[in-house]
């Protein structure tokens, strides 16, 4: 090995060693990515309304459920209400954020 030409040396190293990582994505990163996606989705028009989201069998968090049953139009139920939620802020800033609400996407991402 010591006397191999550099080119062959590199070929052999790259064949023998896979540059892999075993670490999982930090929960904070998942939260930030999800927030960025939701922001982009919301910029291009209304989100699927919480009524329809619920009808499709998804669990909603307590805040989403409150909006879903509130006497407001579907437009309000299609807003990106997570943008206003402290769970989002905590999830984006703290790796093991103290958020536990059932049905919260940020909690689900933390536990994924």
């Amino acid at each position: 090995m010591a006397n191999l030409p550099d080119e062959e040396f590199m070929e052999r190293i790259s064949d023998a060693v896979e540059l892999t990582e075993s670490e999982s994505a930090p929960a904070r990163l998942k939260a930030k990515v999800y927030s960025a996606l939701m922001l982009r989705l919301a910029e291009t028009g209304p989100l699927m309304s919480l009524s329809e989201t619920n009808a499709r069998g998804h669990k909603l968090c307590v805040f989403e459920e409150l909006v879903r049953i509130a006497p407001v139009g579907e437009g309000a139920k299609s807003l990106n209400i997570c943008r206003l939620c402290h769970a989002r802020v905590l999830a984006e800033q703290i790796e093991n954020a103290p958020i536990y609400w059932n049905g919260c996407s940020y909690v689900d991402l933390k536990n994924s």
Binding site: N3, L19, S24, A25, A36, H58
Partner: protein
Amino acid sequence: MNCLGPQTSDQPQTTSSMGSEDSALVAAVLRKDRKATAEFVARYADDLYRYVRSRLAPRYDQVDDLVQEVFLAAWEKLNHYRGTGPLQAWVMGIARHKVEDHYRARLRAPESIEDADQEPSSPASVSDFHQLLEQDELRKNTWRVMGGLPEQYRLALIWRYWEKASAREMALKTGKTEKGIERLLARARAEFRERWDHGQSS
């Protein structure tokens, strides 16, 4: 985390059931289903993170931004996903392009590394390659050496030897000449080799 409804059987997933699940997830994300979007992130974040991290090591400061870029690019192109292959492979393909874009941008930047004279190594016996180093030691040494290399050298080597890009492809994508890429690779290999040998002797 599964936002696409309960599994209907305990049977292992077949390729077609995975394909239909992928297509269902894509359709739901395109309909701006917030829970499906969370599922999309949860499903691929770990794989993407590991891949991007391994290709940018040890400069981890840009990993998060690149992972986010991959997701945003994937979402923008999601309506082009035809379901002919696994969604995971499709997403990883986007990640590879993004990593290449990163390499391209970094290698286009003016080099901050001084040219070194190349002394070609003399060819010799290679039969003892696998006997000289155990796999684990080989891996550790590779990471050690990679970690100490100037960024342009490291990225050029990973792009050429781990991503298997040819010097011609690298030249086309960076706007450099093929000769220029060959020279960069030669310097990078020599530097890698020197650090490797130094580590062996110390």
